[in-house]
């Protein structure tokens, strides 16, 4: 195993009866990385995380966390991992501070340092000032998520696993959690699962896409876009006699799509040009300059987003499954 690796998974499989949750999943996560585990509902994200957290045993394959095989060291693994589970179940009748103190004791924090440790994680999650004495039942969903993350951070474990940390939150709460996760960068190895693509895109250094229990893609956004997105996109905003531009594009054999028509608020049309070849801004600027009664208002290369990559990766895995069957 690589010395720089925090988590290493090799050919991991897990079935629930006849339903296969994970099939031969293999990936590696390096120290200090924030990695997103992305996949549709039922893809096997939570099962993978629960195996890594020592909560579930795999049927076959191996998983190593901080150099320790998970199968033989579930208690030792739990000392190295802070785990916030899906739906973040918390004892509703306890106060935030009571709960976090209990968790600190259970996570074997030095008894003399428990108060400081609880204070540290509450400060980090912005709980100390607003919610430390509140009963968990009375907290909003966003604050409950913060309590779950604070719990995961107690004892400064090497790895933080957050299973759907932003599920069910409103945009303000999502922004708060996002900032919190970003503040962990460099201090912890973080594995986040989500099916909200924008969350993964904004928070993570690397993405692992999982579909039907299989790892269908992994890498940085750039690496994934190179692997899955074969087309380049150029977005043009043009006003004036748009028909002349369309004629030019047709003559040149360009593939295009009118994304947005001109309207009362915006006099410019938005046209998306697709090509498997490289698209040069200078070429299109010159072309539009030469067309009479047509003004260029904006031009930019459209970067492929995670949504496009995700759709392409999962579509490919679907096609592979269909071909095999």
């Amino acid at each position: 195993m690589d010395e720089n690796s925090s988590i290493s998974v090799s050919d991991l499989s897990k079935s629930y009866g006849k339903v296969s949750a994970i099939k031969n999943a293999s990936f590696q996560i390096n120290k200090g990385e924030i990695v997103g585990l992305l996949g549709p509902n039922g893809a096997g994200k939570s099962t993978t995380m629960r195996i890594l957290g020592g909560l579930l045993s795999a049927d076959s394959g191996s998983a190593t966390v901080c150099g320790l095989p998970v199968a033989d060291n579930s208690l030792a693994i739990k000392r190295k991992i802070g785990f916030m589970q899906e739906n973040n179940p918390l004892p509703e009748e306890l106060r935030v501070m009571e709960y976090l103190k209990l968790r600190a004791e259970l996570k074997e924090v030095d008894p003399q340092k428990i108060s400081n440790e609880v204070r540290r994680v509450m400060d980090l999650c912005d709980l100390f000032r607003t919610a430390r004495r509140k009963i968990i039942r009375t907290l909003s969903k966003g604050f409950k998520q913060r309590v779950g993350i604070a719990d995961a951070l107690i004892g400064s474990p090497e790895i933080i696993i957050l299973d759907e940390p932003t599920i069910g939150l409103d945009p303000h709460q999502i922004q708060g959690i996002r900032k919190l996760i970003n503040s962990l960068r460099g201090h912890y190895t973080v594995l986040i699962s989500s099916h909200i693509l924008s969350e993964i895109e904004r928070n993570c250094d690397r993405v692992i896409i999982i579909n039907h229990g299989r790892v269908v893609a992994m890498g940085t956004l750039h690496e994934l876009s190179e692997e899955f997105i074969n087309e380049n996109y150029l977005k043009l905003q043009v006003s004036g006699k748009i028909e002349h531009l369309i004629d030019h594009l047709k003559t040149a054999g360009e593939e295009y799509e009118i994304e947005e028509e001109a309207n009362a608020e915006n006099e410019a049309y938005t046209i998306l040009i697709k090509s498997t070849n490289a698209l040069e801004i200078a070429h299109y600027t010159k072309m539009i300059d030469q067309i009479s009664h047509c003004q260029l208002k904006g031009i930019n290369i459209k970067q492929p987003d995670l949504e496009a990559i995700f759709l392409a990766a999962t579509k490919r895995s679907w096609e592979e499954v269909r071909t095999k069957s």
Partner: protein
């Protein structure tokens, strides 16, 4: 071991903030107080063969039927319902420590409730200082024998409560299951003995076996000061079995 004591403290705290605990405690003290008063009253009306303490503790099964379910029904069923068992599992705690902590917390409360009943003979003794027969009010051998039985049988009763609580996510169903199991254990042995009395010869294997599972007979022996190892084996072995099954059941939750 550190985890175990932390969890016991947590469980005791949870019990003290749970309304069923207070319902169980109040009902227990009221019922037992009434029973003790009724026994004293009957003793003033006609002479009795047994001491008030022996009569009092012989009705041990009556409060057990509602106290044990109320103290234990929440323990695992509620954790399963809220999925907080999963959160507990994510900490480095062995699963048996979770089950044992819940068991000991409920058992501790059970012992406290029974210990409170010791006040009844003590108060009566102090209120009737001139009564010639007041020594029988605090018949120490009967009290010790009865309490030893109650503490021993309590291990099994609480283990039944914890086990039934692990069978379901509903506190109500857990409580009803616990009541049913307790009824079978407490009354079943005695009724079986009555029903089969004429069918098996005294000293035969079946006769001895039925007597072995008769909890009421165990109490009678203990209150007379007869200490036999067989009831200890009976209560402790079944308790260990039930708690082990509970550990397996919560293990299958993951």
């Amino acid at each position: 071991m550190g985890h175990f004591f932390t969890l016991v403290r947590h469980e005791v705290r949870l019990l003290f903030i749970a309304p069923p605990t207070y319902v169980a405690s109040v009902l227990f003290v009221l019922l037992m107080g009434f029973i003790y008063w009724a026994i004293l009253r009957s003793m003033t009306l006609m002479p009795q063969d047994t001491s008030s303490v022996s009569q009092f503790f012989s009705l041990f099964w009556l409060p057990v039927f509602f106290t044990v379910p109320l103290l234990t029904m929440r323990s695992i069923a509620e954790e399963k319902n809220q999925a907080t068992l999963q959160t507990l599992f994510s900490a480095p705690i062995p699963k048996y420590a979770i089950v044992l902590s819940k068991f000991f917390a409920a058992y501790l409360l059970y012992l406290i409730l029974w210990a409170l009943t010791l006040y009844f003979p003590i108060i009566t003794y102090n209120l009737l200082p001139d009564n010639l027969s007041n020594a029988s009010l605090v018949d120490s051998s009967a009290i010790l024998g009865s309490l030893l039985f109650i503490f021993l049988s309590g291990i099994l009763f609480i283990a039944i409560g914890i086990f039934t609580s692990s069978l379901t996510r509903s506190q109500l169903v857990a409580g009803m299951l616990c009541f049913t199991f307790l009824f079978i254990i407490c009354i079943g042995g005695q009724q079986l003995e009555y029903a089969t009395y004429n069918y098996f010869a005294q000293g035969s294997f079946f006769f001895e076996s039925i007597q072995y599972v008769n909890v009421i007979r165990h109490f009678e022996d203990f209150s007379l000061g007869i200490l036999d190892t067989r009831p200890f084996v009976f209560y402790l072995s079944i308790s260990v079995l039930l708690l082990s099954l509970t550990v397996n059941l919560i293990d299958s939750e993951t």
